[in-house]
């Protein structure tokens, strides 16, 4: 009984290391920052993320690069509000 692997335990093998996911919901591309790198740009959607290394091999998104994030958000907002005005 002890030796049988449960579902949760066997899913451990699916873990990935050294990568973060782009946090733009339709993108979610995997990004592989170089060890120690503190900023990474998503190759697919262009979002830029600040990176923190919990330990070697375990990066996480600390936050967005604010200027880029704000610029992209404003651009998206403008397209949405423009569309409304056209209606």
């Amino acid at each position: 009984m002890i030796d049988e692997k449960s579902t949760a335990e066997s899913l451990g093998s699916t873990r990935t290391y050294g990568q973060v996911r782009c946090m733009n919901p339709s993108c979610t591309s995997r990004i592989t920052p170089q060890p120690g790198q503190t900023m990474a740009k998503c190759p697919k959607c262009g979002s830029e993320w600040r990176i923190f290394w919990v330990k070697a091999g375990l990066p996480r998104v600390r936050g967005p690069v604010w200027e880029t994030s704000l610029k992209m958000a404003n651009a998206k907002w403008d397209t949405l509000t423009d569309k409304k005005e056209e209606k």
Binding site: T7, A8, E9, R15, R62, K76
Partner: protein, 654 residues
């Protein structure tokens, strides 16, 4: 035996104390912890009673894994009828109280009635006493705990206490233990205060006999590897739970300026990495602590740093623990404040006053929006310039609410719905709540599954009842199928896209059952499928329960227990007036979720709102999964299947 701990029923009006064994058939039906507490609440509290009156009960519960060899058997559940909502009040805290309660011979202490003067309850090696509370009443959360140790001459006493805010009748008072372990969201502290009960103090030397000790230890190796091997727990052991807020703020999933924005811009100073640096500087490299039996160590220690605001308020160097991500919500995102010292000061204040951080922060942020809109004026605020981003105003309001010493402080102390009635105009429209409880600081407009969780949570708007947080991880569908298809088969839709509606109702239902399971056992939610997909759940619990307690239950039987106990909570709420579409006590989100689009965040989040028709369909699916009718009422077949058809008629089983 790990299962031989008892229930004590303490009547503070009469002074009568009854000690009762917990029969095995009751264990098999409700296990313990939150599940058995729900049964006790349902049976012991008179329908329709005044939550601040003697007919309400407050129940302190440990789970059967508390104090055993199982990982993180640390949790204390506290349940009552919540003075804030008039519905289920339920919270859960870590620390060291639950194991001590079990070593003192008890799993559950149910307190009813009202003492005619301040008292505390003293639980020790099979005995329960009511003691004069004059030395502990009026003290802060930590002072009270030190005082009882001194009074009884034992530095190892662990206590579950209410703070000065609850003594003053603030409706969202916590039960607290240690420096910052908080049983929030349920109003348990307020009910204690209403009963003149300052604390339950416990000390025990009654060993818990482990049923199969060698197997339990052997299994622990695997179990602990699952806990510590999870990336999320390695992150938490470094940055604590603030990493959650940091991640959500990165893409625009937090409330800011009450609910006007969904991201706190340029908030680098309160990001987890910055807070970690403050702990490093003020406490030292080894500044992460843990609850009983836990390997994660998610609790940071800190001292308030030497900065202008802390100096001005005389707070430099004060010690505390946390902050949790909930404090970042409450004292940063929602009021629009970006200074770490403000966060750390507010966190310290709420811990000492013993008040719910999420509720008080949300109420102040709501008041800030009302002030911005001219619904509250400086006359109402007593001259405080209650604008977003005003750190000092935020701190001042915490004092005024907890001391009830200004008009607005007193009004907000009663909770949002009561405050909206007093403030009038269209103030309620701006409050972000479910069932009268303010919503925590996340913004779910771009995540329908998480939004459904907030609407359905049994204790009011909340994330710790059924939030399928791994919905944010974009896990492959085959992984989702393995998780959500066990122990009950499921072959309906499941989508890795967090913006989808299809299949989310099942994920929320599964998560609700999982969270009740872990709360029945008395272990930590960070040790199960919540923030990580590879953490233990039903299959693993079945083993850990057997090795530690000898109780044989299949994963499916454990699922049934959890489903049953969730249904009792639902029945309690229905009995106390919950109706599906009631804007005050119902299972629906406020209009702003559907009408106001997200303004900030990742490009796909900008413009997001919830679709009302799809949301209601998702809610209907959730009711179906739970075996309820279209109004969310459990059907007779469901009640019979789960053995609850005689719940109303039967005498209490213990």
């Amino acid at each position: 035996m790990a299962l031989d701990r008892k229930l004590a029923v303490v009547d503070l009006t009469t002074g009568n104390i009854e000690i009762k064994p917990i029969p095995l058939d009751v264990r098999k039906k409700f296990l313990g912890g939150r599940g058995l507490a729900a049964y006790l609440l349902y049976k012991y509290v008179k329908p329709g009673c005044d939550p601040m009156g003697p007919e309400n009960a407050v129940i302190f519960s440990a789970g059967p894994l508390g104090g055993t060899l199982a990982s993180a058997g640390s949790r204390t559940d506290v349940m009552c009828k919540n003075p804030l909502t008039g519905l289920l009040g339920s919270g859960n805290m870590g620390g060291f109280f639950a194991p001590e309660l079990r070593w003192a011979g008890f799993d559950h202490i149910l307190v009813k009635g009202k003492a005619d003067k301040p008292v505390y309850i003293w639980v020790h090696d099979g005995e329960v006493e009511i003691k004069d509370g004059k030395n502990v009443w009026g003290k802060t959360v930590t002072e009270a705990q030190w005082a009882v140790r001194e009074e009884l001459g034992d530095p190892d006493i662990k206590s579950a206490v209410c703070g000065p805010a609850a003594e003053k009748g603030v409706k969202y008072g916590n039960v607290m233990t240690g420096i910052k372990n908080a049983n929030g969201r349920g109003g348990g502290g307020s009910v204690m205060g209403s009963k003149n009960l300052k604390m339950v103090a416990a000390r025990g030397t009654m060993d818990i006999k482990i049923a199969h000790p060698m197997e339990a230890l052997e299994f622990d190796k695997k179990y602990i590897e699952m806990i510590t091997g999870a990336k999320v727990n390695q992150t938490m052991g470094t940055l604590g739970t603030p990493f959650i807020w940091g991640a959500a703020n990165a893409w625009g999933g937090v409330r800011a300026n009450n609910f006007q924005l969904n991201q706190l811009l340029y908030s680098d100073d309160i990001e987890p990495e910055s807070l970690d640096e403050i702990s490093n500087q003020t406490v030292g490299k080894y500044h992460m602590a843990a609850c009983f039996g836990c390997q994660v160590h998610c609790r940071a220690k800190y001292r308030i740093p030497d900065r202008p605001l802390s100096q001005k308020l005389g707070m430099v160097g004060k010690y505390d623990e946390g902050p949790e991500y909930t404090s970042q919500n409450a004292f940063c995102g929602e009021p629009g404040c970006t200074k770490a010292e403000t966060l750390l000061i507010c966190n310290h204040l709420v811990n000492q006053y013993g008040v719910d951080n999420l509720e008080i922060g949300s109420l102040i942020s709501w008041a800030m929006e009302l002030y911005e809109k001219g619904i509250l004026t400086s006359k109402d605020t007593g001259g405080i310039d209650l604008r977003f981003g005003n750190d000092e105003a935020l701190i001042e309001m915490i004092h005024h609410i907890c001391n009830r010493d200004t008009w607005l402080g007193d009004v907000l102390a009663e909770g949002g719905l009561a405050a909206a009635e007093k403030i009038g105009r269209d103030s309620l429209k701006y409050m972000i709540h479910v069932k009268g409880m303010n919503h925590l600081g996340s913004d779910e407009r771009a995540t329908p599954g998480l939004a459904l969780n907030a609407a359905m949570a049994s204790r009011g708007s909340d994330h710790l009842r059924s939030r399928p947080a791994i919905d944010l991880y974009h896990l492959p569908e085959q992984v989702l199928r393995r998780i959500y298809g066990s122990p009950v088969p499921y072959d309906g839709p499941l989508s890795p896209d967090q913006r989808e509606y299809a299949g989310k109702a099942w994920m929320v239902f599964w998560q609700e059952t999982c969270f009740m399971g872990v709360d029945c056992l008395g272990t930590c939610k960070y040790h199960t499928t919540f923030l990580g997909a590879t953490l233990p759940n039903f299959e693993d619990w079945s083993k850990v329960l057997y090795y530690n307690t000898g109780l044989e239950m299949t994963p499916r039987e454990m699922w049934d227990v959890a489903e049953r106990c969730n249904l009792i909570e639902r029945l309690f709420n229905i009995r106390e007036g919950m109706k599906k579409d009631d804007p005050l006590k119902g299972e629906m989100l406020v209009d702003r979720y559907f009408d106001e689009p997200c303004r900030l965040g990742a490009p796909d989040v900008v413009g997001a709102t919830l679709d009302r028709v799809k949301f209601e369909k998702m809610r209907a699916e959730f009711y179906q999964h739970k075996g309820c009718d279209e109004d969310g009422i459990p059907t007779p077949q469901t009640l019979s299947r789960l053995g609850l058809d005689t719940l109303d008629a039967e005498q209490p089983r213990l």
